[in-house]
């Protein structure tokens, strides 16, 4: 038995042991990962895609504005008390989409109402009871205007003073300077709160952000006493709030605000049902597969089953540890990849049989089987990789989040199956052949009277 084989065996057992340890039980906390990350179609929840109307935004500023819009949307969703929402910006062919994932049972109508709102922040002052109900207004020209993020210049930023305390510097445009002068003169020593729709902005600590007016502000001003995170967030939403960026969708050349481009809501019971059915199907399929391999390939078939076991457990561990979001098609992809993963083994065993029939010794047949099947394994799997890459691109161009999941899982599955076939199966076979435990050719699926010359 060669030393290399032993090292490989140790490596495989260690890998398998680690993978098994990290997935059993499935909800065990490993490096902060608890359980498999399930897509909305499996655990229930909503998926919304909105287009952004950036027609009022000057070219070049889109990325920054969208970051701010994302921050605004996140705030609104968080205000609904939904756990682990995901808000992402998707940029595709010059169009900007906001993708929102809301896991679990959510009041989707409420969420949609919130998201469709404008992004401009408004300032409010206290009423007699001390509540912030009155919009802070002033008169410019002949119009009564509310002080809002619309009148801020785009250069609101965070600075740090000599004591290391962060503060926000902002500049107002012409109208804003007149407005702020009137308001700050009137409210000197009082608080101003910042509202997004009907929700006040809150800091990390959950307290309302309501700075006290310390001086008359005209074209420039600053806000102190914020934490660094709050200051950064506030500068982002103020910059984004300069311009209304309605979320909705384009229909022909018309913009329909508040209507999502794409919306999917799956009930958790349907998701649970899908999981149950997939597991049943996987169980039956795998059982048939294992029986077939054992009956047809005998001892090598058993080895293939073992290596398939390693494959399944390691892939599950990868899903959990990366983590990869498992969707229903992804789950199907995983199950189909189990069937395909046997392919490399089959290629090798067929080669081995041919070599055995050709009169080679067992050890030589194993080696020849592997080395000669390699080009076919490599070439054939690369084509599947190409298909996966194209699919991944396709999945990125549209709302169908499931396509990407499938492509990713198939890609990982095929890559891993090459590894298990080449490394795991070969190591096991070398061990069995090298230890001369089983030398009867019929155990290898070859019915021949030829004697076995088992050379080391």
């Amino acid at each position: 038995m060669r030393r290399r084989t032993v090292y490989l065996l140790i490596f495989i057992l260690a890998l398998f042991g680690f993978a098994l340890w990290s997935v059993v039980p499935l909800d065990k906390n490993v490096f902060g990962r608890e359980g498999l990350r399930l897509g909305l179609d499996l655990k229930g929840g909503s998926y919304l895609v909105y287009q952004a109307d950036l027609s009022d935004v000057e070219p070049g500023a889109e990325d920054e504005i969208m970051e701010g819009v994302k921050g605004v949307v996140e705030r609104r969703i968080n205000a609904l008390g939904i756990t682990e929402p995901v808000v992402e910006i998707q940029k595709h062919a010059g169009e900007y989409n906001i993708v929102i994932q809301l896991p679990g049972i959510a009041d989707i109508e409420k969420a949609k109402d919130m998201v469709g709102l404008f992004t401009v922040l408004e300032f409010r002052e206290q009423d007699a009871a001390g509540n912030f109900t009155i919009p802070a207004t002033g008169v410019v020209g002949n119009e009564t205007l509310t002080l809002s993020s619309r009148y801020f210049k785009e250069n609101t930023e965070v600075a740090i003073d000599s004591l290391g305390e962060p503060f926000l510097i902002f500049e107002m445009d012409e109208t804003g300077a007149q407005l702020f002068k009137q308001i700050s003169t009137r409210l000197l020593g009082k608080q101003l709160a910042i509202y997004l729709g009907d929700e006040p902005l809150r800091g990390e600590d959950g307290q309302m952000i309501a700075p006290v007016v310390r001086a008359v502000i005209e074209d420039k001003g600053q806000i102190e006493g914020l934490s660094l995170t709050d200051a950064q967030e506030l500068s982002r939403v103020l910059n984004a709030g300069r311009i209304d960026v309605p979320l909705g969708r384009w229909v022909d050349e018309e913009f329909e605000p508040s209507v999502p481009l794409y919306e999917r809501t799956v009930d958790a019971t349907l998701g649970a049902d899908s999981i149950r059915k997939s597991i049943l199907a996987a169980g039956i399929g795998i059982a048939l597969l294992l029986i077939f391999m054992l009956v047809y390939y005998r001892l090598p078939g058993l080895v293939a089953c073992l290596s398939l076991g390693v494959y399944g457990v390691v892939l599950l561990a990868i899903f959990k540890l990366v983590p990869i979001t498992l969707t229903l098609p992804g789950l199907a992809g995983f199950i189909v990849s189990l069937g395909m993963a046997v392919d490399a083994n089959v290629l090798i065993f067929e080669r081995m049989k041919e070599e055995l029939r050709g009169g080679r010794s067992l050890a030589a047949a194993v080696e020849a089987g592997f080395s000669r099947a390699w080009t076919a394994i490599r070439d054939s799997n690369i084509t599947t990789f190409i298909a996966c890459i194209v699919l991944f691109w396709l999945g990125g161009t549209m709302g169908a989040f499931m396509v990407r999941g499938f492509a990713l899982i198939l890609f990982l599955g095929v890559a891993l199956s090459m590894f298990t076939a080449i490394t795991v199966t070969r190591t096991f076979l070398r061990l069995i052949v090298g230890s001369r435990v089983v030398t009867n050719l019929s155990a290898y699926g070859v019915t021949s009277l030829q004697t076995v010359r088992n050379t080391k």
Partner: protein
């Protein structure tokens, strides 16, 4: 030894029949539905929802009630266990909820919207365009890869072309069958259909490459001066592997098809058809096609033409 190459006229004839049925179905569908395939929500836009009835109701009764409520153009698919997948023009989730309540009252059953899905028509058009581009890009990428992988062979472009022709043939037959199912059974195609299609593109090329790889090896060893014989022995030698791999894959796909639930039923059906057609094609079409090209026996491609004397 089975003579696959010798029987190539028959195989080509079978392929032609399947392709022609597919084309006929695509044309009929174009005339009747306005599109070659019945488009699902992903491509046509609109709202698709899964309604769960307890107790289960008859599909015909549901159709009647839907028509009464003004949804006479809705596509209704029975997904089993009291679930129906309904594709209508665009309605909001509020309206879907109302519809469910109206159906509950009319059919005297509990109705729940377990899956609500809205896609704007504009997304649908963009998705359809991306899907077509994806299939073309994938095919060209496969062609280039095979030309590269077989670059040491004289005329490697032929190998790539034959593989891609065989591949397009698989895709075409699968698309044709789905067009027919759309006409006969109301089966709609969605983004997952394209996903399945691209998966079988990868899978089918995979099989063809294994056969071609053996032809490459046998040609290098010079087992016969006749290219037809070389190809045929290569097909026979790889037959066990091709059938076994397809079988193991079919086991799991069939299990998913029978027990995996309605949501991915059509997706799994694409894979099922694709694996069967892909296996047939790698054994009976791709190799013989290469022989036809090498030997210039173009007349065998049109089996109904007279055999040369």
């Amino acid at each position: 030894m089975i003579d696959f190459v010798g029987q190539k006229r028959w195989f080509f004839l079978i392929s032609w029949i399947l392709v022609i049925i597919g084309i006929a179905s695509l044309i009929v569908s174009q005339i009747q539905l306005g599109t070659p395939l019945r488009l699902g929500t992903d491509f046509a836009g609109g709202t698709s929802m899964t309604l769960q009835f307890s107790p289960a109701v008859e599909q015909s009764r549901l159709r009647e009630e839907m028509a009464k409520l003004g949804h006479d153009k809705a596509t209704i698919q029975n997904a089993g266990e009291g679930n129906f997948i309904i594709h209508t023009e665009e309605i909001t989730s509020d309206e879907a909820q109302e519809l469910a309540e109206e159906l509950a009252a009319a059919l005297n059953a509990q109705v729940e919207v377990v899956d609500y899905y809205l896609a704007s028509a504009t997304v649908g058009a963009a998705t359809a365009r991306s899907a077509v581009i994806a299939v073309i890009v994938a095919s060209v990428a496969m062609l280039l890869y095979i030309v590269w992988a077989f670059r040491r062979m004289p005329k490697s472009f032929r190998w790539g072309s034959c593989a891609v022709i065989a591949l397009v043939h698989d895709v075409f037959i699968t698309v044709g069958i789905f067009s027919l199912l759309g006409l006969l059974a109301g089966v709609e195609i969605d983004a997952l259909f394209i996903t399945g299609l691209l998966t079988i593109v990868g899978y089918s090329i995979n099989n063809i490459v294994v056969v071609f790889d053996r032809i490459r090896e046998n040609k290098a060893r010079g087992i016969s001066s006749d290219f037809g014989v070389t190809v045929n022995s290569s097909i026979v030698e790889t037959l066990g592997r091709c059938l076994n791999t397809s079988l193991t894959t079919l086991f799991v796909i069939l299990a998913l098809f029978l027990f995996g639930g309605a949501t991915i039923h059509n997706f799994v059906l694409v894979l099922l058809l694709g694996v069967i057609i892909g296996t047939y094609d790698s054994i009976c079409v791709a190799g013989p096609l290469l022989v036809v090209w090498e030997k210039g026996e173009w007349s065998s491609l049109v089996p109904w033409a007279k055999r040369p004397a």
